[in-house]
């Protein structure tokens, strides 16, 4: 079983140096929130993550949740861990003060979420879904619903779920068929929902479902979907959970990963109808879901970092313990001394640090956007598909490298490397597949504003390149040239997309994936370059960071430039071909013969 050590120094560096959390919190008018407090919070959260949640990760994988009589029983040990998680107030971190939250910025919530998902992603999905429900209620719920549901959801006393998907409504939610019939002051909800993460469990006294359903007179398609709140236990007059609502989990999916997270088939209204309450206005449910999309998608992107970080730590440990080969003096060689193993470790380290820089930067821009900063809002829109799409795709490669470092033992389940690889596989799928992210990036986020947000990003990268050129630090010069070259190629590909694909949806679709990956490697390279520049500017005798860390930052950025930046060029090359052969075979020809 692998242990987990929170990467405190890098998290602090990104928050303090790259984001400038002190200044951010001043902008947000959050008094007393600063680097020092942030580092204490991350360190304390890290203790719970590494000592309580991490040891349960393999337990959840081997002993997934079970279901009987409509009720789910979670993995043994999870309930105690959850009890500790909420008793220590971690669920309240970003919630508004008015409803019992600590009102801390999203960027700090993101830094802490990284630890939960690294230590135990299956477990952390539960509070993650609650946070989604909280956001939906804050943005769209009536005052009465907020008062009733927000305090217990923010404290973690109850958990929340998102009931969107149905057997025939996956990526296409226009096909939602669940029904809601008015009945006095409430609605009777009926229908079946699938893939409901943490749809049921015994850890809390209530589970609050947010459910998409149609009213009897609703228009067809996406404009006829409304959002309802359906508690597992109906509330009595004091707002306490009382009798069981007409909601049950009828089965659990058998998945390739995240076994500790129950993925439920939920049935509503099998008997007298599940009592539900309308959230916001009728027929606006799907729009409400979209308001939470940036945050939810960024959190899934963050999971890509979290699981890759855990995989890296495992690979790093194993590569020092496994000896293969003999030195001339007869002593054994740890595999970490072999160049190809070292290459894999560096690829993981560089990938993780780039992802952390991007995830935290995007999270900070969500804070700025909520605070009314329009340019940050545009940047969030642009970043979101990159965070979700690129980071979860990179996680596939990095968790696979961990298996490769382990050699044959990596293929053996007991080693635990396989779990991270299997767990990571859902990430490019749920909350919008990579294909959906790629279309979002190229369509809504690039073509729709005629490349304005994209050009803003390009000019920020240009600015960093100029600052790098102005630096007299020799160790930075190598990757300055590589970043400049990558930016040039990405600009070329971006202009080609703007000039050629606006009127040609198929061409746009063909190149969308390569555009997404190109943008990911580019932004990652830019943020690594900025980090290296900031590290080079630290006075090493008088820095909060060790000289080993600061030198490591620059060396890791150099490795990123050598290993990952050429991928920008490669993806740009593909974009520029238009990938015109994509549809050159018809379906019969694909079937071969």
């Amino acid at each position: 079983m692998s242990t987990y050590t929170p990467p405190l120094q890098d998290a602090n560096f990104v928050l303090d140096q790259l984001i400038g959390i002190d200044q951010l919190c001043e902008e947000l008018q959050l008094e007393d929130i600063n680097t020092e407090l942030a580092s204490v919070i991350i360190e304390e959260a890290g203790k719970l993550a590494s000592e309580v949640l991490a040891p349960l990760n393999a337990v959840g994988d081997a002993n997934g949740a079970t279901v009987a009589n409509g009720q789910v029983t979670e993995t043994a040990g999870f309930a105690d861990a959850y009890e500790q998680f909420i008793a220590n107030g971690w669920a309240t971190l970003t919630g508004p003060e008015q409803f019992g939250g600590q009102n801390l910025p999203n960027v700090l919530g993101t830094a802490v979420n990284e630890l939960w998902h690294s230590s135990n992603m299956a477990f952390a999905l539960c509070p993650m879904l609650s946070q989604g429900a909280v956001e939906a209620l804050i943005a769209h719920g009536s005052d009465a619903l907020k008062e009733q549901y927000l305090p217990p959801l923010i404290s973690g006393e109850w958990t929340g779920t998102m009931n969107l998907t149905e057997p025939n409504a996956g990526s296409d939610l226009a096909a939602v068929a669940a029904k809601a019939v008015p009945s006095g002051d409430h609605y009777k909800i009926s229908g079946q929902k699938i893939f409901i993460t943490w749809g049921d469990h015994q850890m809390t006294s209530n589970v609050v479902h947010l459910v998409l359903a149609r009213l009897p007179d609703a228009p067809a398609g996406v404009k006829g979907i409304s959002l309802f709140i359906v508690p597992k236990y109906r509330l009595d007059e004091q707002g306490q959970p009382s009798e069981l609502n007409d909601v049950s989990c009828i089965s659990l999916e058998h998945k390739m990963g995240i076994h500790g997270s129950p993925t439920c088939v939920m049935s509503f209204g099998d008997n007298d109808g599940a009592v539900g309450y309308l959230v916001g206005e009728k027929n606006k449910g799907l729009r409400y879901m979209f308001t939470m999309m940036n945050h939810a998608r960024q959190t899934v992107g963050l999971q890509g970092l979290s699981i890759s970080e855990r995989a890296y730590q495992q690979a790093l440990q194993y590569s020092q313990e496994r000896f293969q080969g003999t030195h001339r003096d007869g002593s054994k060689i740890a595999i970490i001394e072999h160049p190809d193993v070292r290459r894999m470790l560096m690829a993981m380290k560089a990938g993780n640090e780039a992802m952390r820089a991007l995830a935290f930067s995007a999270a900070a821009d969500i804070d700025r956007a909520h605070n009314g900063d329009d340019s940050a809002k545009k940047r969030v829109e642009l970043y979101t598909p990159i965070v979700k799409g690129w980071m979860t795709e990179l996680a596939q490669e990095l968790t696979s490298l961990n298996i490769q470092v382990h050699g044959g033992m990596g293929f053996i389940e007991e080693t635990g490397a396989a779990q991270h690889y299997r767990d990571a596989r859902i990430l490019p799928i749920y909350e919008g597949t990579t294909g959906i992210q790629a279309l979002d990036l190229i369509g809504r986020k690039t073509l729709f504003d005629k490349g304005e947000a994209l050009k803003g990003l390009h000019s920020d990268i240009e600015e960093t390149i100029n600052a790098l050129k102005a630096s007299d630090n020799q160790s930075l010069s190598g990757f300055t040239a590589q970043l400049e070259n990558a930016l040039q190629r990405a600009t070329e590909a971006g202009n080609w997309i703007l000039d050629n694909t606006a009127e040609d949806p198929r061409l746009m679709g063909n190149v969308s994936f390569d555009n997404l990956m190109m943008m990911g490697y580019l932004v990652g390279g830019w943020l690594m370059a900025r980090s290296a520049l900031l590290a080079s500017q630290q006075d090493s005798d008088n820095s909060a960071y060790s000289s080993a860390f600061l030198e490591g930052k620059i060396a890791t950025a150099s490795f990123y430039a050598e290993h990952y930046l050429p991928r920008v060029n490669q993806h740009a090359d593909t974009v520029l071909t238009g990938l015109k052969s994509t549809f050159s075979l018809d379906i019969e020809q694909l079937q071969g013969a």
């Binding site: 407090l37 304390e44 203790k47 107030g89 971690w90 309240t92 600590q102 060790s546």
Partner: protein
């Protein structure tokens, strides 16, 4: 009743200890630091006594440069009420620490003083005992269980032969052993509250204590590297090697 807890800033027990190249000391530059684990147990015990209604206030004291305020804040985040830092340029040796603490005790008049049995950096295991002598108070060292009953503290001690239970007249000094309790994690609301809790800074001069050097650190060397082991073919061979090569039998 007030409880006074002393905490020391030491190298984190998870951190790898490096020795300076010139062997003058341990290299603490940019090393992760933390509350000494035994001191953390002392903080936990004090907070539990307060939660049980046996104490009204928990005061945390640390002695050292400004950086040790981090450890005071950590103790405040665990639930202590206020902190006192005695500012010194370096980390003074045990007798000086005991003299400084004695003066803080005279000023604060706590009913109970709880501290770690030793710090994991210097492993001296003497400050509590010295403090007891300086204040002429009873001591219960290596505590694995503490109960307060009226004006007495019942302390179960881990001694070589097993467990020994003492009844001490309060005020008294208790030093903690590893099994006294399992310290809690700081909760987020308490971390947020900690930054607003009072933290007073004082100095040896204000306390009227003159720091004296009683010992000098001559050199620090790392433990010798363990050489690779060998496989023996029989018990006889093992015994033979233990007798003649290792010379431990």
């Amino acid at each position: 009743m007030k409880i006074l807890v002393a905490v020391k800033r030491v190298i984190d027990y998870n951190a790898k200890v490096r020795v300076k190249a010139d062997n003058t000391d341990v290299d603490l530059n940019n090393t992760k630091m933390a509350i000494n684990p035994f001191c953390e147990i002392a903080v936990e015990e004090a907070i539990r006594l307060k939660e049980a209604g046996s104490a009204s206030e928990v005061i945390v004291v640390s002695i050292g440069p400004k950086a040790c305020q981090e450890q005071i804040r950590t103790a405040l985040a665990l639930g202590a009420d206020r902190g006192i830092q005695v500012e010194t340029a370096d980390y003074p040796e045990s007798l000086n620490v005991a003299k400084l603490l004695a003066q803080v005790v005279r000023d604060e008049q706590p009913g109970l003083i709880i501290m770690g049995k030793q710090a994991i950096d210097s492993d001296n295991n003497q400050t509590g005992q010295m403090l007891s002598a300086l204040l002429d108070m009873p001591q219960g060292t290596f505590a694995s269980e503490v109960k307060l009953e009226g004006d007495k503290a019942q302390v179960t001690r881990e001694v070589d032969g097993g467990l020994q239970t003492l009844s001490l007249n309060l005020p008294a000094i208790i030093t903690t052993d590893l099994r006294l309790n399992e310290p809690r994690f700081a909760s987020l609301p308490n971390i947020m509250k900690a930054k607003r809790k009072p933290l007073a800074v004082t100095s040896p001069e204000t306390l009227g204590v003159e720091l004296k050097q009683h010992s000098t650190l001559l050199k620090v060397t790392p433990p010798t590297e363990r050489s690779a082991g060998i496989l023996v073919n029989s018990v006889d061979e093992l015994v033979e090697k233990l007798k003649n090569e290792a010379k431990v039998l």
